[in-house]
C-alpha cells in the first residue's frame, strides 16, 4: 500500500493541517515508508487469533447514571480565544 501526492493533500486537509506544496513530496515519502514498515506485520499468520483489545484481562469500566459534574461554565470556556455569556465564539459556520 502506498499513497500518492493527492492522497497526502487530502489527508492533510481532513486533519486540518496546512501543508505547503513543497512539503507534499517529502511527506509522501515519509508516509510510504511508515506504511511499508507496518506492512511487514502482514507476514505474521494471525488466522484464528482473537484481536487483542487490551494487554491485561480488563473489563470496560462503567459508571452509574448519576450527575456528578457541571456548573463550571467559566472554567469550560476559560481557554477559548473569544467568549460571550459563557458561549464559545467561533467564526460563522452556517449551512
Amino acid at each position: 500500500m502506498s499513497v500518492d501526492a493527492q492522497t497526502v493533500r487530502r489527508i492533510a486537509h481532513l486533519a486540518r493541517i496546512a501543508v505547503s506544496e513543497e512539503d507534499v513530496a517529502p511527506l509522501q515519502g515519509e508516509l510510504n515508508a511508515i506504511l511499508a514498515f507496518v506492512e511487514q506485520l502482514g507476514a505474521v499468520d494471525v488466522s484464528g487469533v482473537e484481536p487483542m483489545t487490551s494487554v491485561t484481562p480488563m473489563r470496560m469500566k462503567k459508571r452509574e447514571d448519576v450527575v456528578t459534574e457541571g456548573g463550571r461554565a467559566t472554567d469550560i470556556v476559560a481557554n477559548a480565544p473569544e467568549t460571550e455569556d459563557h458561549y464559545f465564539l467561533v467564526p460563522k459556520v452556517v449551512e
Partner: protein, 490 residues
C-alpha cells in the same frame, strides 16, 4: 425490499409512474440523568455550557467512562424492536471537524453495534399493516449546539448537549410512501415512549430523522439516493419526502441523473437543497476508540432487562381487542400513547369495554383535541368518566343527558352522581309523568296520529316531541313502549 408494488403508492410522473423508496436513520436521545461518557447532566434548557464536564469539552487527558443506564436503555429499545442484542459491541471514533464537536470525533459504533436486526409493525391509516426491517441500533454521542443568529460574523457554541447519549436506529429501505414513513416514525416514537428510553420530544430535537430517498420505475433496481438531514417533525418528514421524490423524478425524466448527496429540507420554501459542505466530510476514517474497551455483558443481563419491560403497544392492542371486544382501529387509537391506554383501562375496568372506548375516544379525546390538551391534562378523570358511564348503564340518565353531564363535569368538575342529583338530571322512568306528556302531544296532533297508523316511521317524530317536552329526561325505552301502545303501532 422487493415486496409487491402497490399501485396506489406510486407517484405519477410526466412519462410514467414512479416508486419512491425510503429508509430512515432516527436519532433518539436516550432518557438518562447523565451523559453517555460523563457525569454531566442531560437536563434541557440549562445556562450555556453549564451541563458540561471536562470530558464533554474534550480537555486533554480526560477519559470517557460509560453510563450503565444508557447501555440498559439501548438494550431495552433493542428488545422492544424484537432485535438481536449483541453481547459484545465496540465503540469507534467517527472523525470530522465542526465547531460544536470539540473532540474532533464523535464516539459512535460502526462495525459492531449494540443491537442488530429487528423489526417494527406499522399500522397505516387505511387499516393495512407493514413490517419495517430494522438494520441496527447503535449508541453514540450527540454534538453541541451552534447558534448562528446572535452575531453577524460569529457562531455561538454551547456544549450542553455534547456527549448526551443518542440511539441511532437505522431502518431498511422498506418504506414506499411518505404516509408509510410518517406512520413508521409515529410507531417508533410510540414504542420508545412506552419503553421510557426516549421521550420522543421532536420540538426539543430529542427525536430527529435523516431520510434516505430514491425513486425507481417499479421492478427496477434501487435508484441513487439522497439523504435529507435532520428533519425534526413528522409532518416535515412527509413533506420532505414528497418534495425530494418529485425533484428526483423531474431530473430523471429530463434525461438527467441523480448524484448521491446530503440535502437539507427547507419547510419555509418547500424545497430541499444540497449541503455541499457535507460532501467531503464523508470520509470519517472510523477506527476503534482506544480509550474504550469493548462493551460486553451476558445473556442473563439481557434477560433481566427483558423481564422488566412494560407491555408494548402491539401486545396491548391485541389484548384490548381480545378482552374488551374493541375494533383494531379503536384499540390502535387507544394504545398510541401509554397514558391514553392507562386512562382507558381505568375507565373500562368492571364496565363495558366498547362503551368505555366510545366515551374515551369520541367524547374525551375529541374534546381534548379541540382544546389542545394532553390526556394527562384532562379535566375529567377516569373515575368521573366511569361514573357517567355507570349512570347511563343503570338507567339513571339517558345517553343524551350524559353528554350534558360530561360537559358540566368538564367545566365545573364534581362527582357526576351528585351533579345528577342536585341538578335534577335523572331520567324520568315514572310512566305516569311520561304518559301525561305523551297524551298531551297526541291530543295536539290528531293529523299526525292518523298518519302514524299508515306510516309507522312517524313514531320517531313523536319520540322526539316527547323527549323535548320532558327536557330529554324521559327514559327512551319507556317513551317508545308507551307511544307504540297509544298510537297502535306494532
Amino acid at each position: 425490499m422487493n415486496a409487491p408494488v402497490n399501485p396506489k403508492k406510486l407517484i405519477k410522473g410526466g412519462l410514467h409512474d414512479w416508486e419512491v423508496v425510503i429508509g430512515m436513520e432516527i436519532h433518539a436521545q436516550v432518557t438518562s440523568r447523565s451523559k453517555l461518557f460523563s457525569g454531566a447532566s442531560t437536563a434541557f434548557g440549562a445556562e450555556p455550557n453549564d451541563n458540561v464536564s471536562l470530558v464533554d469539552a474534550a480537555m486533554p487527558g480526560m477519559l470517557p467512562v460509560i453510563n450503565t443506564e444508557c447501555v440498559a436503555q439501548a438494550v431495552r429499545t433493542g428488545l422492544g424492536l424484537k432485535a438481536k442484542i449483541n453481547l459484545r459491541s465496540v465503540f469507534d471514533r467517527k472523525n470530522y471537524f465542526y465547531p460544536d464537536l470539540p473532540q474532533g470525533y464523535q464516539i459512535s459504533q460502526y462495525k459492531d453495534p449494540i443491537v442488530g436486526e429487528g423489526e417494527v409493525l406499522v399500522d397505516l391509516p387505511d387499516g393495512e399493516s407493514i413490517t419495517v426491517g430494522i438494520e441496527r441500533l447503535h449508541l453514540e454521542q450527540d454534538a453541541g449546539k451552534s447558534l448562528h443568529d446572535q452575531a453577524p460574523n460569529q457562531s455561538f457554541v454551547d456544549l450542553n448537549r455534547s456527549g448526551v447519549a443518542l440511539m441511532e436506529i437505522v431502518s431498511r429501505p422498506d418504506l414506499r410512501s411518505s404516509e408509510e414513513a410518517k406512520a413508521y416514525v409515529t410507531k417508533l416514537r410510540t414504542i420508545l415512549r412506552y419503553l421510557g428510553t426516549c421521550d420522543g420530544d421532536m420540538e426539543k430535537g430529542n427525536l430527529r430523522a435523516d431520510v434516505n430517498v430514491s425513486v425507481r420505475k417499479p421492478g427496477d433496481p434501487l435508484g441513487t439516493r439522497c439523504e435529507i438531514k435532520n428533519v425534526n417533525s413528522i409532518r416535515f418528514i412527509g413533506q420532505a419526502i414528497e418534495t425530494e421524490a418529485r425533484r428526483q423524478i423531474a431530473i430523471i425524466e429530463d434525461g438527467g441523473t441523480i448524484s448521491q448527496e446530503t440535502r437539507l429540507f427547507d419547510p419555509g420554501k418547500g424545497e430541499t437543497r444540497s449541503m455541499r459542505s457535507k460532501e467531503e466530510a464523508h470520509d470519517y476514517r472510523y477506527f476503534p476508540d482506544p480509550d474504550l474497551l469493548p462493551l460486553e455483558f451476558d445473556q442473563a443481563y439481557v434477560d433481566g432487562l427483558a423481564a422488566g419491560l412494560p407491555e408494548l403497544p402491539d401486545a396491548k392492542k391485541a389484548r384490548f381487542v381480545a378482552d374488551f371486544g374493541l375494533s383494531a382501529y379503536d384499540a390502535g387509537v387507544l394504545v398510541a400513547e401509554r397514558a391514553s391506554a392507562d386512562f382507558y383501562e381505568a375507565v373500562a375496568k368492571g364496565r363495558d369495554g366498547k362503551v368505555a372506548a366510545n366515551w374515551v375516544i369520541n367524547e374525551l379525546f375529541g374534546r381534548l383535541n379541540k382544546e389542545g390538551l394532553g390526556i394527562d391534562q384532562s379535566p375529567v378523570s377516569a373515575d368521573q368518566l366511569g361514573s357517567i358511564i355507570d349512570l347511563i348503564g343503570e338507567g339513571t340518565i339517558s345517553g343524551k343527558i350524559a353528554k350534558d353531564l360530561f360537559e358540566i363535569v368538564w367545566t365545573e368538575g364534581g362527582d357526576p352522581r351528585a351533579v345528577v342529583e342536585i341538578r335534577g338530571m335523572k331520567q324520568v322512568t315514572d310512566t305516569g309523568a311520561i304518559e301525561t306528556a305523551v297524551d298531551e302531544i297526541i291530543a295536539k296532533n290528531p293529523d299526525k296520529v292518523a298518519q302514524a297508523k299508515e306510516k309507522p316511521t312517524l313514531l320517531g317524530w313523536f319520540v322526539g316531541q316527547t323527549m323535548k317536552a320532558t327536557g330529554g329526561k324521559a327514559n327512551p325505552a319507556a317513551v317508545n313502549a308507551l307511544l307504540k301502545a297509544k298510537l297502535g303501532i306494532e
